[in-house]
């Protein structure tokens, strides 16, 4: 018997009890739908994450004291002359700023708040590519003159000024009056990370008000490709200047993106594995019903054998039946999964990503399940004794 006839015979077997065939393959339908949906949603989410991160500034880096190092932390790991030195010696670094942070009490006409007071140089607005809602970022002169000027982020401005304009008005930081010279527009953060309310003041002023340390450095390069190189050189320079090898550590946005990428990858893998297990269970379901079906159709098998079907013919018939059932389930599941992924993507405003290779893989996988879980029932059918099979009711 040729393959085409085998397929036709198997199809007849499937079509004679459509409802049961569908229920048999339901596990595969659900499993494949889950796999397709999970992978599509995972990939869609990842694409969104990546494109958001692309939008963010990718050519920046930070250098700070490595807390894990066994060296004593003195608080003198950085100083302001390091900034000039690095900018001078490492040509890739286009902007560099010291960054000091402290939580402090902010008072405005409307309300008072605890906020992050960040001391930076005027370079900082270039590093972070700030978008100003009002006014401007403070200048080099402000920094040199230790002026009491502050740049608020939008959220904080609303909190301490309400509807009134913050620009050119006064606030107090730890009871010291400051003039607001600018408000930074809220950045688009699709990732939903909410940061503490914050404001920026010149590093020189910060050091006068709080302490003379420099906590860490943040800088940018001309392109993201040379971030790691610039970072490494800056760290080496710092180690040379302070005679403290191994005390600094650095991180770039690029590295953080890779880490995030890895996490979403792992998540997709984990959920995918769970979906895979459900597929396996679906396969067992198919095997189970196929075994019952072989028992029920013992008489049919006996008749076919009496008419000249070889054991191989019977084996192939049931195997193809199982494969076709699973492929059918796979196709239905693929449609459902793609539909579900599309729906969720639409709700979450993600691009739906059902790649052709996922579809192909799912198709091949359901076929493979058909083979694996069809073998046992098919073998059982092929091993039947024709006389006993014919005698069965």
């Amino acid at each position: 018997m040729n393959l085409l006839e085998s397929v036709r015979v198997a199809l007849e077997g499937i079509m004679t009890s459509k409802l049961r065939s569908f229920l048999t393959t339901l596990g595969i339908v659900i499993g494949i739908a889950a796999v397709i949906a999970v992978v599509a949603i995972g990939q869609g989410g990842r694409a969104v994450l990546m494109s958001e991160m692309e939008k963010m500034v990718t050519n920046i880096f930070a250098i700070f004291v490595d807390w894990r190092s066994d060296k004593q932390v003195t608080g003198r790991e950085f100083d302001l002359s390091d900034v000039a030195a690095i900018k001078d010696k490492v040509p890739e670094v286009t902007h560099l700023s010291p960054v000091n942070q402290i939580m402090s009490d902010i008072r405005g006409p409307k309300d008072q708040k605890l906020a992050q007071v960040i001391g930076v140089s005027s370079d900082y607005s270039y590093i972070r590519k700030f978008n100003m809602k009002e006014g401007h970022f403070f200048t080099e002169e402000d920094d040199a003159g230790e002026r009491r000027v502050a740049v608020l982020d939008e959220e904080l401005a609303v909190q301490v000024f309400g509807r009134a304009s913050a620009l050119a008005n006064k606030i107090t930081i730890a009871n010291t009056p400051f003039l607001v010279v600018g408000v930074v527009a809220k950045g688009e953060s699709a990732l939903g990370f909410s940061e503490n309310p914050r404001l920026y003041i010149p590093i020189s002023t910060w050091q006068v008000m709080f302490n003379s340390q420099v906590q860490e450095l943040e800088g940018s390069t001309s392109a993201k490709e040379n971030v790691n190189e610039a970072m490494g050189q800056a760290v080496k320079l710092l180690e040379r200047r302070h005679q403290t090898p191994g005390k600094y550590t650095s991180v770039s946005m690029e590295q953080e993106m890779q880490a995030a990428n890895k996490i979403t990858g792992i998540m997709t893998l984990v959920i995918g594995a769970i979906a895979g297990i459900s597929l396996f269970v679906g396969g067992i379901g198919v095997m189970n019903i196929m075994l019952v079906s072989v028992t029920e159709r013992t008489r049919e098998i006996g008749i076919r054998m009496a008419l000249g079907a070889t054991r191989r013919d019977i084996l192939v018939q049931f195997l193809i039946e199982s494969i076709m059932l699973c492929l059918l389930g796979g196709i239905i599941g693929m449609a459902l999964g793609a539909g579900g992924a599309y729906l969720i993507a639409k709700l979450a405003k993600w691009p739906p990503l059902v790649s052709w290779w996922t579809a192909l893989l799912a198709f091949a996988f359901s076929g493979a399940i058909g083979v694996i879980f069809g073998l046992l029932p098919a073998n059982k059918a092929a091993r039947l004794n024709p006389i006993e099979a014919l005698r069965r009711e």
């Binding site: 008489r299 054998m305 054991r311």
Partner: protein, 254 residues
């Protein structure tokens, strides 16, 4: 055509051994029409299963169409069943969800005959048993006699060396049984070799030769001098519609 020498069959039922056939010697020439008779449990079905390559013999030898059958592999036996043997069962054994046509096509599917040729021969076979009009009916839409005629069509469609019929009229009323015998006689006149098991001497007398079995042994071999002619009987004694005791048995095979 069929040459059986010292044939024996022993069943192992648990610890017990059942001798179903012992020392059977039987030769059937091409074109013969033979009835096998004997009490229940005498080994008639066992013999048919062996002749039909559905079972393997325990001792002796069996040659079909000049080929030694004992010692054949499963696959070879399947091929012998497919090409050399046509079965007609008491329980009909059609596939219930398939049309008469498709049922008749089945042996040809396993023989690898192309669809067009298959359809042509299936229609031809159904025509020979007078059921061409019913070819798209399923067994549930046919009477018992018609179902058995479909299964005869199925048995002869691959031009087998021998047709083996185990109590083909056992589930049928007298008239339907007579019609089946008429078809067998016509096939036999056309050259078909037929071996038929029956409990009824009346049926046996339609053949040319009756072999008797008792306790697994062939005990008598009788030539029927003047076989009954089923067609004649049908025309004379039982004109359609008048015959008593006709129950249109609607039994399904299955």
């Amino acid at each position: 055509m069929i040459k059986v020498i010292n044939l024996g069959k022993v069943y192992q039922a648990g610890t017990q051994q059942v001798v179903a056939l012992a020392d059977v010697n039987l030769s059937i020439r091409p074109g013969e029409f033979v009835a096998v008779m004997g009490p229940s449990g005498s080994g008639k079905s066992t013999l048919m299963n062996l002749l039909g390559c559905l079972d393997t013999l325990t001792s002796g030898s069996y040659q079909l169409d000049g080929m030694e059958v004992s010692g054949m592999s499963d696959t070879e036996q399947a091929q012998v069943r497919n090409l050399k043997i046509g079965f007609v069962f008491q329980a009909f054994n059609l596939l219930p969800r398939m049309t008469a046509m498709r049922n008749v096509e089945l042996p040809m599917i396993y023989a690898g005959i192309a669809p067009r040729e298959r359809a042509r021969r299936a229609v031809q076979a159904l025509e020979r048993v007078g059921l061409k009009e019913r070819m798209s009916h399923r067994p549930s839409e046919l009477s018992g006699g018609q179902i058995q005629r479909v299964s005869i069509a199925r048995a002869l469609v691959n031009n087998p060396a021998v047709i083996l019929a185990d109590e083909p009229t056992g589930n049928l009323d007298t008239r339907s049984g007579e019609e089946i015998m008429a078809i067998f006689q016509e096939l036999n006149r056309g050259g078909a070799t037929i071996v038929l098991v029956t409990h009824e001497r009346e049926i046996g007398l339609h053949t040319a030769r009756i072999v008797y079995f008792r306790d697994g042994r062939l005990v008598d071999d009788e030539n029927v001098s003047a076989p009954l002619d089923a067609r004649e009987l049908l025309n004379a004694n039982m004109p359609a519609g008048q015959s008593p005791g006709i129950i249109e048995s609607g039994e399904e095979c299955g």
